[in-house]
Amino acid sequence: MNALGSHRRHPAAIFILILLGLVATGGLYSLLAPRPATAAVSTADDQTTGRKLFLANCATCHGISGQGSKVAPTLVGVGAAAVDFQVGTGRMQLAGPGVQAPRGKKVMFTNKEIASLAAHVATFGPGPALPDDQYTKGDGNIARGNELFKVNCAMCHNFAGSGGALTRGKYAPSLRNATGQHIYEAMTTGPQSMPVFNDQNLSPTNKNDIISYLHDLDENKNPGGLNLGNLGPVSEGMFAWIFGLGLMIGAAVWLGSKAA
C-alpha cells in the first residue's frame, strides 16, 4: 500500500477530495461555458450600428421595431436614457425571461455600442434623453436629498438603499455604488416595476440632491461599527442570538468547567 493509499481514511481526505472536485468542475465550466454573444461592429454610422446591434441582441425578445412581445415590454417611447441604464448596468441583455432583471456582474457592451444602441432605440418613439451632466454629478444638497429619498424611494429601496422586496419574487435592488447618471436615468425611465419620476415630479436639482445623498451613503461611513447590511432589526436580532448569546454561553461553559 503506497503513501496515498495509506492516507485514504485520513479525516482530511474527504475534504481534499471535495476541493478537487470543485476545482475540476469550476475549471471545466469556465472553459466550456457559453460566452455571451456580442456582435462585432465595424461601420462608422451610429444609427446603423445601433440597428445592427439591436437586431442581433435585443430583437428576439423586444421585437424588430421594439414593439415588445410576451416575454419583453415594448421599447417604444422608453428613450435613450432607458437603454443607457439597462445596458449600462448590465441588466440587459437578459440571459432568459424571468421575474426580474438583476444588475449585471459585468457590462456586455462597450460605451460606444451602448450609445449607438440608445440612439437607435430613441428612434422608436420620443422618450427621456440622456441626462444633463450637471445634474448627475452628486454635488447637491445631501440633507434635502435625504428627505426626498425618504418620501419617494425608501419604501421600496429601504432607508439606506439596501433594497427591498416587492410582490411575486420581484424586488427593488440595492442602490450601492450606482453612478449618478444611472440613478437619474432610472428615475426618469421607471425600469421594471419602478414608477416614473419625471422632471416635473422631482426636478433635476432634486434628482441631483438624491444622487448626492446616495453617494454620501456609498462612502460607507458606519459610525457605530459593522452595519450588518443596513437591513434593520432583523439582522441585529440574528447577531445577538448567534454571536452575543453564543459568546456568553461559551463563557459560561468555560466558567463551569474544571481547570486542568
Binding site: 435625504n146 418620501v151 422586496a165 457605530g224 432589526p233
Partner: protein, 612 residues
C-alpha cells in the same frame, strides 16, 4: 474530603465560625476592617445572616448562568439607561437640526429625535453608551427566553417553584414591553411606523378601540403626548415593577435554594456545589464583567439602531423592511399571516379580528398558557412532593415534546416577520413564503411534538442500552472460532447513576367507582379528563433500568457482551498476538459474583473502574 460525601447538616458547616475577637487578631488592617464590621453589626445585627449567606452553596452548571446573563443585562441597562436620560429629551416639540451630522442638517424633527442624534454624534462616548444600552436590551430578552427554556425543559418549575415561574413569565412579558417602549423613544422613522401600527391595534379593539387610541395618544396619532408618556413608562413605571418582581424572583431562589442536575452524590435533600465565598463571588462576579465586556465589545464593533439613517418620523414615508426588534417579531409575524377575510361588518359596526387577534390576543394568550403550565402539570401528575432534582429532558418526553411544539409555533410566527428579507436574500416570492408559513403554522407544531417525543423516548432506550450492555470500547476481539465481537465496557457506577436515577411517572388512575357501601360513584367529568390527560402524558413510559435487569443482562450467555471484570486488572496486552482468539472474561469464565454484595472484609464493592 471523602469521595462519598454524606450530606452534612448546615450546622456542621458553621462549626468553624469565626468570632468577632478572632477577626481582630493579627494585622492592623484586619483590625480596622474588623472594627468597621463591628460598627455595622452593632447597628444591624447582620453577622449571622452574613456568614449564612457567604456559606450558601451554589451548584455549578453553565445552564444555570443563563438567568445570570439576564440579571447582569438588567444591571447594565439600568446603568447605561440612567446615563442616557441625562441627555435625552422626551419631547415631541419640533426643532430644526443643526448638529454635526450632515445628511440631517436643516431638517425639522422632534426634540426626542434630535437629542438622540446629538447623543450619537455630539456627546463624547454617547454613541457607545447608546449602543451598549440597545445591545444589552437585545441580550436581556434573548437570555430571558433561553433561561425560560432551560427551566421548562428541566422541570424546574415544579413545586415549590411555581410562584417563581409565574413571576418569571410576568418579567418576560414586561421585558419585551420595556424594550418596545425604549426603542420607540427616539421617534425615528422605523419605530414611529411601529407606533403607528400600535395605534391601529388599539383602534381594532371592539367597542372601545377609538377611545383607547385617543386616550393613550392624547388625541390623533401621533400627537405630542406619546413620547413623554412612553418615557415615563420606560424609565419609571416598568423598571420599578421589573426590579420589584426580579428581587422577589431571586429571593425565592435563595429561599428555595437552587435546583441541581441529578448525579452521583446529589439528592433531592441536598445542594452540591461550591460556597458563595470565595468561589461563587469570583465566578458570578467575574461573569458579570464578562457579560458587560462582551456587550461593550459588541457595541464598539457593530452598529445597532442607526436612527440617523432612518431619519425622523413622518406619517408619509416608510422604509422597506419595517420590522420591530426581535422580541416583538412573533407578533409582527402573526399580523402578516392572519387572513384578511376575518374583518366583519356587523350592522353599523366593524369587527377587525384580522388585527385584534394577532396583535392583542396572541401575546397575552401565549404568556398566560406559559404561566399556568406548572399548575396544569401538577394537576396531571397529582404530584405534591417538592422537587429539587432536575429532570433530564429526555425523561419527560411529553413535556419536552409540548415545549418544542410551542417553540416551533413561536418560531414560525417569528420567521414570518422577516418574510420580505427572506424573499430578497433567497430570491423567493414573498407571497409564496407567506402562504407556505400559513400552512406550516398549522402542520409543523404537531409534527414537532411527535418527532421530539419519539426522539426523547429513543434516547431513553439508548440510556437503558448503555446501562445494560455497557459502552462500546472500540476494541474488536476475534475468538478462536473466528467470531468477531466488540468489547463493551460496563459503565462505572458514578456514570451509571445519572442514567438510572429517574422516576418515571405513571398515568393517574380513576378511583374506584364503587365506594365502601357498594354504591356506584360516578366519576366526574373533571376526573375523567384528568385521567385522560395524565394518560396522554405518561402512557408511553420508558422505565429506568433496575439492578435485577442489570444482573440478568450480566448472566446473559451471549458472547457478544463479553465484559471485563475487576479481576482482569489489565495485565493482558490486547496487542499481544497470543491473546487473540481467547474468549477472555466472557460470561462463562466469570466467577460467580454479585455486583451488590460487599467484599469479604465488608467494604463496599469497588466497581469496575473506581481507581482514579
Amino acid at each position: 474530603m471523602s469521595p462519598q460525601a454524606t450530606p452534612k447538616g448546615a450546622d456542621s458547616l458553621r462549626a468553624d465560625d469565626v468570632t468577632l475577637e478572632d477577626i481582630t487578631e493579627g494585622s492592623k488592617a484586619k483590625a480596622r476592617a474588623g472594627s468597621l464590621a463591628g460598627w455595622l453589626d452593632d447597628r444591624t445585627n447582620t453577622a449571622r445572616p452574613t456568614s449564612y449567606l457567604l456559606k450558601k452553596v451554589f451548584p455549578d452548571h453553565w445552564s444555570f448562568m443563563l438567568g445570570e446573563i439576564a440579571m447582569f443585562s438588567l444591571i447594565i441597562l439600568l446603568l447605561t439607561g440612567t446615563i442616557l436620560t441625562f441627555w435625552f429629551v422626551p419631547s415631541a416639540g419640533r426643532v430644526i437640526y443643526n448638529g454635526s451630522y450632515v445628511p440631517l442638517k436643516g431638517i425639522p424633527m422632534s426634540e426626542a429625535f434630535k437629542s438622540t442624534v446629538d447623543i450619537s454624534f455630539d456627546v463624547r462616548g454617547g454613541l457607545i453608551v447608546r449602543q451598549i444600552h440597545h445591545w444589552s436590551a437585545l441580550l436581556f430578552t434573548v437570555s430571558i427566553s433561553v433561561h425560560m427554556f432551560r427551566v421548562f425543559f428541566t422541570g424546574a418549575f415544579r413545586k415549590p417553584r411555581e410562584i417563581n415561574w409565574v413571576i418569571g413569565t410576568i418579567l418576560s412579558l414586561l421585558a419585551i414591553n420595556e424594550g418596545f417602549t425604549g426603542y420607540s423613544l427616539p421617534d425615528d422613522l422605523l419605530s414611529g411606523t411601529g407606533l403607528r401600527a400600535a395605534e391601529g391595534f388599539m383602534q381594532s379593539v371592539p367597542v372601545l378601540g377609538s377611545y383607547l387610541a385617543y386616550f393613550v395618544f392624547g388625541g390623533a396619532f401621533p400627537g405630542e403626548a406619546i413620547i413623554p408618556r412612553l418615557f415615563t413608562v420606560h424609565v419609571l413605571l416598568l423598571p420599578a415593577i421589573i426590579i420589584g418582581l426580579f428581587t422577589a424572583h431571586i429571593v425565592l431562589v435563595a429561599v428555595h435554594k437552587h435546583t441541581q442536575y441529578p448525579g452521583p452524590g446529589k439528592t433531592n435533600d441536598n445542594v452540591v456545589g461550591y460556597p458563595f465565598m470565595p468561589v461563587y463571588m469570583a465566578k458570578a462576579g467575574g461573569f458579570f464583567f464578562v457579560v458587560f465586556g462582551i456587550t461593550a465589545l459588541m457595541a464598539a464593533l457593530v452598529t445597532i439602531n442607526p436612527i440617523w439613517l432612518y431619519g425622523p418620523y413622518d406619517p408619509s414615508p416608510v422604509t422597506a423592511g419595517s420590522q420591530p426588534d426581535w422580541y416583538m417579531g412573533f407578533a409582527d409575524g402573526a399580523l402578516r399571516l392572519f387572513p384578511g377575510f376575518t374583518e366583519f361588518n356587523v350592522f353599523w359596526f366593524t369587527l377587525s379580528l384580522n388585527v385584534f387577534i394577532p396583535s392583542l390576543v396572541v401575546m397575552p394568550l401565549i404568556y398566560t398558557i406559559a404561566g399556568v403550565y406548572p399548575f396544569i402539570e401538577s394537576w396531571v401528575t397529582g404530584d405534591k412532593r417538592e422537587h429539587h432534582l432536575l429532570d433530564r429532558p429526555r425523561n419527560a418526553p411529553t413535556r419536552t415534546g409540548l415545549g418544542v411544539m410551542a417553540i416551533s409555533f413561536y418560531l414560525i410566527l417569528f420567521v414570518a416577520a422577516g418574510n420580505d428579507l427572506i424573499a430578497i436574500k433567497l430570491g423567493l416570492s414573498i407571497n409564496d413564503i407567506t402562504q407556505t408559513l400559513q400552512v406550516m403554522l398549522l402542520v409543523v407544531p404537531p409534527l414537532a411534538y411527535w418527532v421530539t417525543k419519539r426522539i426523547c423516548m429513543s434516547l431513553q432506550r439508548r440510556d437503558q442500552d448503555k446501562v445494560l450492555h455497557g459502552r462500546e470500547s472500540g476494541r474488536v476481539v476475534r475468538t478462536a472460532e473466528g467470531r468477531f465481537f466488540e468489547v463493551h465496557e460496563p459503565l462505572p457506577e458514578h456514570e451509571r447513576w445519572t442514567l438510572v436515577q429517574q422516576e418515571i411517572l405513571t398515568p393517574l388512575q380513576l378511583t374506584a367507582r364503587v365506594d365502601e357501601n357498594g354504591v356506584r360513584r360516578k366519576s366526574t367529568r373533571r376526573e375523567r379528563l384528568r385521567a385522560k390527560v395524565s394518560s396522554f402524558y405518561f402512557a408511553d413510559g420508558v422505565a429506568a433500568v433496575t439492578p435485577a435487569e442489570l444482573a440478568a443482562a450480566h448472566h446473559d450467555g451471549s458472547a457478544r457482551e463479553a465484559i471485563e471484570t475487576g479481576q482482569d486488572s489489565g495485565d493482558h496486552d490486547v496487542s499481544d498476538p497470543a491473546w487473540v482468539g481467547q474468549l477472555h472474561g466472557g460470561a462463562d469464565e466469570r466467577p460467580e459474583t454479585d455486583a451488590y454484595a460487599s467484599d469479604e472484609d465488608g467494604a463496599e464493592p469497588a466497581g469496575p473502574a473506581s481507581a482514579p
